[in-house]
Amino acid sequence: MEARYQILLIFYSLGLLVLIWQFTRRGLFRPAYALLWLLTGLFFLFFSIFRQLVPILAEYFQVSYPPSLIFAGAIGFLTIILIHHTVLLSMYSNKNKDLAQDIAILEWRLEQLEKYTDQPVAIDAETSTEIENGVEPE
């Protein structure tokens, strides 16, 4: 029964690692962001294989209920991942704001340019050629 549980845990950890690997391989995860997840997966795999380490560690840290050590470790990893996500989210929302501001400023400058040249600035090569040849773009 103990062994069955261990096999289940090993499969779970391997499944997690394979999933992360596949996500990264297909470009759904950027490798830099997959790193923390891989470490989490390896943490689970390590302790599901070397299960006998858990009570030893628990004794060392004077934890009366050994599995709670694994929970603590898991929560620790998840917390780090979540903090990492908040950092990334803040960074991207900041960059997003900068881009929105750039768009507003560039759009204004483009309008000035269009007023100055008295014709719309071409949006693609085809239109550009049409304007050069004196054809009024649609």
């Binding site: 900041n94 929105a100 501001q101 400023i105």
Partner: protein
Amino acid sequence: MIPAFNEEATIAKVVKDVKEILPETFIAVIDDGSSDHTGEVADQAGAHVFTLPYNIGIGGAVQTGLRFAKREDFDFVVRIDGDGQHFPSDIPRLLQPVMSGEADVAIGSRFFYGGWKADISIQRKMGIYLFATLASALSGKKITDPTSGFIIMNKRSAEFLANNLEQDYPEVDSRVSLVRAGFRVLEFPVEMRVRQGGVSSINTIRAIYYVIKVTLSILIAKTRNYI
């Protein structure tokens, strides 16, 4: 500079009033992703309209103007609200101390002489009192109207704020950060009207979030290092 979010009812008058007082000035309306015709109305009134692709918050909108001012190397930046609550006729009086170098930043205060205006709700008074107390304590300067959006900046302070401004509700904590960064911030008494139209961006549900968020921002502004 006039940040505006859905202010089509009032923006034209604000722009025209400013134009009358300061005919030579570059008037920028930052349309913060309005869903009404704020941008068109402001354009027809003779302002330069900067259209943000979506709503990014008042601080982000103001920052757009500040970044543009920095780019164009403007000497002074005046920020007033688009809802018509500020009197553009006050601008020259507030601009004077900044132009003369007496202050880096001049801010119009409704409560300069103490006392409350009758038309402000009790919740708002409580919020303003809390922020005034906090911002005064943390900046070491007496601040009577911490949420005022009537601000006049010289080049240096405008540039500082272009780099250090909260994306939403930036007024209160920028008071602390400006003082901490060594800028001379002076308040001047002004009258303000109740908004002349449109809807305030702060409704009841947001008020609680507003208070907590701004309090946090003030504390952060106090502890952050400004170079």
